[in-house]
């Protein structure tokens, strides 16, 4: 007996399409959801992030500069992660996500302060996440003020200028206007896809068990893989349609850029859809009825929203949350989409995300395959 019959697979596929077409409400929801979510989440969501990775481009090495650095190290807002060498290196660190901020301390910083020449500190920020950038300028100003006041003691104490002794020049990279929607919208794609893909797959499969049709189905010679692919493929197409609707709507309404590699996006996007379908499949092996499938799916949506860096900047989350977040597919897809859409990234820049998604897929797939039964036991 054959292990995979194309004609049986096509029969399951056709059946699934017919059922999908008849279920108008669900179908409308699948298409309407991206638009509704886009409108809802397009509004600003603010958070109070901490410990954002920051690197320093050191142009000066006096005692005051060192004091600035040590103050930044103890600050809650920034997390000092190292030095960069020149602007190009800083640019790279921002693009790969190694740093959210680059602080450039100009040469002769200390001398200029003492002379009252108002040196300019450059704060280059990855503004693709504006919630994180927002507070940075204020935090940096606070730190510098304290340090300078403490250091200009003794003879120079008297001539502390009334106006700020330096200026901060903020350079927003990737999202020059600091719009929240620019960051939220690409991330939202990850949330919507995971919401529908996981839930629809789980429900579609559990429904077969709940309505008893699975008993008829597995009493025929149909093979598990034929059922699995036949049931899942239609929903992959739904994911494509959702993405198209979503991208079209976000370009039209929010004027989101798409600067990076289309292929890099396409690969990641397919990988992400498959991960979510596998997750839905896994849920269907656990849930006893459609209600449970729904609730379990919803349960997986929460971490996608809260721990993925969608709501709060990932780097600003406590360690345990980052650890959990790393296991959430949306985390990696979000990074990938932001990199590609906003930061001009290509395939080479997102291989890390591919690897992470592939690893999650492997783990989920193995568990699901182990749990799937060809019998009713």
């Amino acid at each position: 007996m054959k292990w995979f019959s194309i004609s049986r697979f096509l029969a399951v596929l056709t059946k699934e399409f017919i059922q999908m077409r008849r279920d108008r409400l669900t179908f409308a929801m699948m298409i309407g959801l991206p638009i509704v979510q886009l409108l809802l989440f397009g509004f600003a969501i603010n958070a109070d992030p901490r410990n954002l990775p920051t690197m320093i481009d050191l142009g000066d090495n006096g005692p005051m500069t060192r004091a600035v650095i040590s103050a930044m190290k103890t600050s809650d807002y920034f997390k000092f992660t190292g030095y960069v060498d020149g602007l190009a290196d800083g640019e790279r660190a921002l693009r790969t996500g190694e740093a959210n901020f680059i602080v450039v301390i100009p040469p002769n910083f200390e001398r200029d302060i003492i002379r009252g020449d108002k040196p300019e500190i450059l704060l280059a920020a990855d503004a693709s996440d504006p919630a994180a950038t927002g507070g940075a300028v204020g935090a940096l100003r606070g730190i510098l003020n304290v340090v300078i006041r403490q250091n200009l003691t003794g003879a120079l104490a008297g001539n502390t200028p009334r106006a700020s002794p330096f200026s901060i020049n903020v350079q927003r990279e990737y999202n020059p206007e600091g719009r929240t929607s620019t960051n939220i919208v690409p991330g939202l794609l990850g949330i919507i896809l995971s919401m529908t893909m996981v839930m629809i797959t789980a429900v579609a499969i559990v429904k077969e068990y709940e309505q008893g049709t699975m008993e008829m189905l597995i009493a025929t010679p149909v093979r598990p893989l034929e059922v699995m692919f036949g049931k899942i493929l239609p929903y992959v197409l739904v994911g494509y349609v959702q993405t198209l609707v979503f991208l079209a709507a976000s370009f039209a309404m929010f004027d989101i850029p798409f600067t990076g590699g289309k292929l890099a996006f396409f690969i990641g996007f397919n990988l992400y859809i498959v991960v979510n379908l596998a997750l839905g499949f896994l849920i269907s092996t656990v849930a006893k009825n459609q209600m449970q499938a729904m609730q379990l799916s919803f349960f997986t949506i929460l971490p996608s929203i809260l721990l993925s860096g969608f709501m709060f900047p990932f780097a600003g989350m406590p360690g345990w949350a980052q650890f959990l977040g790393a296991g959430v597919p949306a985390t990696h897809f979000l990074r990938l989409v932001r990199k590609v859409m906003l930061k001009n990234a290509g395939i080479a820049d997102v291989t890390g995300e591919y690897m992470a998604l592939a690893t999650i897929l492997l783990v989920i797939g193995l568990i699901a395959a182990k749990r799937y039964r060809q019998t009713l036991d």
Partner: protein, 317 residues
């Protein structure tokens, strides 16, 4: 069984547990080719579970056997391709039309000339003009007929029918059984579970199961005798009073109303006979000894046995 008859279902000592409860317990059955085998038992006795094991939907925890010569454990695919299984609960797609359902099942069995097959099935069913109606919109009885048509579409050699006529009107039930007998004449073997006595008597043989254990197995004509029940009929007025009075008398195991009389049955013929004659003489009633019937036998068997999970012990016999 005679030696020269091909045995289509041959299982030995199969058991199935759900959690701690043994739902099928050490079950054997041998069904010869072309037989119509009735499968009886109270609700929850394990009929559906046994049938599922026979068609490879459940793996038995113990025991082994063959269906159509294929091993239950190792060749379920071969069995599935040749068996028509009609589930107790309607299991076709409610949101597909009648034709789409039949077509889908036909495709699952990779049937050649599928269109013709499906057309013929629709014609046979008398549903050709309603082929585009959703299965959900059919009445209960029609759903059963559709389900039977679907499980016959690949010309199975063995039919496993799980309460196929539940909720079907008498006329349709008769048609149904005519169809079953026609198939049986063509050499199709049928195992059918039912709660209807008029259907049980139409079977060549009957297996009776309770608490997952097979209690009785044999030609349907010999069942009553196997059970060992003697029945007397008492007639006259005030039957309700009589019923109350006679219940619990020596030798009386079961009292049931049948038309204008009551049937009093027991396993100890001598004691029961004495009791019946005493009452009949005292009240001046007509009495007669009845040939033991299937129905009484089964009511007797079912008394005190409800569900596998209700009492884990065997029923008192």
């Amino acid at each position: 069984m005679t030696q020269d008859v091909e045995i289509v279902i041959d299982v030995k000592a199969i058991s199935k547990k759900f959690g701690h409860h043994t739902v099928v317990d050490n079950f054997d059955i041998r069904v010869p080719k072309g037989a119509v085998y009735g499968f009886l038992g109270p609700n929850g006795s394990g009929k559906t579970t046994t049938i599922r094991i026979l068609c490879g939907l459940l793996t038995p925890d113990a025991g082994s056997g063959t269906c159509l010569g294929f091993d239950l454990r190792t060749e379920p695919e071969e069995i599935k391709a040749r068996v028509g299984y009609m589930t107790q609960k309607f299991s076709l797609y409610q949101d597909l039309t009648i034709r789409e359902n039949l077509d889908f099942v036909a495709r699952m069995f990779s049937i050649k000339k599928r269109r013709n097959r499906v057309d013929a099935a629709l014609e046979n069913l008398g549903l050709a003009d309603r082929a585009h109606q959703l299965a959900a919109d059919l009445s209960g009885g029609w759903k059963q007929r559709l389900a039977l048509a679907a499980c016959l579409i690949h010309d199975p050699k063995l039919l496993l029918l799980d309460e196929p006529t539940a909720g079907v009107d008498p006329k349709a039930r008769r048609d149904f059984w005519n169809e079953i007998r026609r198939l049986s004449k063509q050499g199709v073997t049928v195992l059918v579970s039912t709660h209807y006595m008029d259907e049980a008597v139409q079977c060549d043989s009957i297996a009776y199961i309770a608490y997952g254990k097979k209690l009785i197995d044999g030609p349907s004509a010999s069942i009553a005798q196997q059970v060992g029940l003697t029945t007397y009929r008492l007639e006259g007025l005030h039957l309700a009073d009589l019923e109350d009075r006679i219940t619990g008398q020596p030798g009386v195991v079961q009292v049931a109303r049948f038309g204008t009389g009551i049937h009093v049955s027991g396993t100890d013929e001598a004691v029961l006979g004495k009791t019946v004659k005493k009452i009949a003489t005292a009240e001046n009633r007509r009495w007669s000894k009845q040939p033991a019937g299937l129905e009484e036998a089964f009511i007797y068997l079912m008394t005190g046995s409800n569900d596998n999970f209700a009492t884990p012990d065997r029923p008192q016999q």
